[in-house]
Amino acid sequence: MKKKIIKINLKMFILVIIIAAAAAFAQSDYEIVQNFRKDYAGIKDKIENADSLAQLNSIVDNIAQLRDKYSEHADLLDNGLYPDQFETSIAKLNSAYILRQGDFARIDVLKTEVSTLKKNVDTLNTKNNELLANLERLESLSNKNSKQIGQLNNLVAELRGSLLKRDRLVMSMVDSLMPPIMREKTMLSPEDKEQINSEIEKDNVLTNVKTTIKDNIQYLNLTTLQPEDLKDIQSQQNEFEDTWSRIGGKLVDVYADNNSRSRELREIDSLFTRWKYAVRKEAWNSISEVFAKKGVPLKSFSNEESFVNSVSEYIEDEKKNIETQNENKAEQNYALFVDSTWYGEIKPVWTNYLIEYGMLSEENKDSIESNIAGWKSELYPSTLWIWIIIAGLLAASAVILLTRKRRTAEGTEPPV
């Protein structure tokens, strides 16, 4: 009897298991597809947001698990995921994983590059300091001999090359602070911020950016440059500013809670402005030196308005002095300013540059040249009117003579 009861219970148990198993199979195909999509998207997100190679590597197992879990529904998923398929979806995840792995490999390479860059930048910083000191010393010599002038020129060229080299290294350093994927993020994660912060601190990036700009400003202050040099500097400046603007904005976010670093970022922004101003100032200084070397005593100028005023005032003064000063002196001054300086150097060398970089308008250039024309006409008044009067007098004399001759001829004729 007991055996029979056990047998019945066993049958009941098996029946329950079968019913439960059948119930377990009552699953919606739609739900399977949706669950797959959800799991797939979850893994994809994890891959995209992995912060380290270790974290990324742990996701490989998730891909394998996803495949195992859904392989029995492969046919259903092939239909349900159309135009994708089950296997292509898994392959996409694997590709995304490999691609992201490449990002981390690139980050490692960048880290190594940055460490090399840092060493090079340090070396160039020291070298540039020495060069700037030498340049300052030579510039301060009042009477330079030809050897010293040669030395000075070599030094300027060497310093320019060295500064350019260091600028490029610092730019690369700034550029490598954030891998492209990090730049595309609208919000940086705390891990991203930590990583950037540690790179910046380790490599003194902010200090290097500041030193680079300051040295460039100092170089501009110590040298007299031609438009071509200034154009090179301006293009390099734009390149540097572009690189910085791509990263700088994100750094504000990284250092939102760090007052001293935020201050440094603002300082860098203002240094960029000073650098730009220094290039413009350098152009005006160089032009001023051209006039000074020629012995044209212009009032000092540092922008378009003061330049135009200074030139106009000089011309007006010269025009006023025509009557009072020696004629030769007035003509010499005119030749010095107009022929030798304005049309000899400023116009062929500088005006195009000034106009191209918005430092002088066409109207102001024309106004200066029309002033020059006025000055010329006052200094060398036109003699055309004298010739017209002479021609008029000669014509009148000829008419009178002819009239008299005719009358005389009429008076001597015999009466008929």
Binding site: A23, A26, S28, D29, Y30, V33, L76, G80, Y82
Partner: protein, 149 residues
């Protein structure tokens, strides 16, 4: 007479051939997976994948006798290999079987499923029928009704 009969048969054959409609077969209209579609404020549903759009107001009214019953609902829709559409939704007592006809969906069959309403309905495409599941319950449906039911 035999000759006349032969001519008559030939003529009948010709007429039949001329009147028969061109038929492409076999054809399979089945959707591999059901679609779960939200009903918009006007009662319309739209399935982009199959370029299908229709209005569900009358069906909801038929089911609940309430002209606003469609608001905030979603329907579950699948098509079988013969081209019939099976539609149901949560708390529906029936599965509605429609066939497409001249720009409309015409009710072919209304299959009663549960007196208390289907709690969590879902359709699965099976080889020769549509499977309706609701929790642990599984039913095999054709456009004629419940198989074996």
């Amino acid at each position: 007479m035999i000759r006349f009969n032969l001519i008559l048969m030939f003529a009948a054959l010709m007429i039949y051939a001329a009147c028969s409609t061109l038929t492409l077969q076999p054809a399979d209209f089945s959707w591999p997976i059901e679609s779960v579609l939200p009903v918009d404020d006007n009662g319309n549903v739209s399935e982009e994948k199959y370029s299908l759009e229709f209005n569900t107001r009358n069906m909801f009214f038929e089911e609940f006798q309430d002209s606003t019953a469609f608001i905030g609902k979603e329907i579950r829709l699948i098509r079988d290999n013969k081209g019939f559409y099976y539609i149901t939704a949560q708390n529906f007592k029936n599965v509605y079987v429609f066939k497409p006809e001249d720009g409309t969906l015409v009710l072919n069959n209304m299959v009663p499923i549960s007196e208390t309403g289907i709690k969590n309905p879902a359709f699965n495409q099976r080889k020769d029928h549509i499977e309706l599941i609701d929790g642990d319950t599984k039913l095999s449906l054709t456009h004629e009704g419940i198989e074996g039911g």
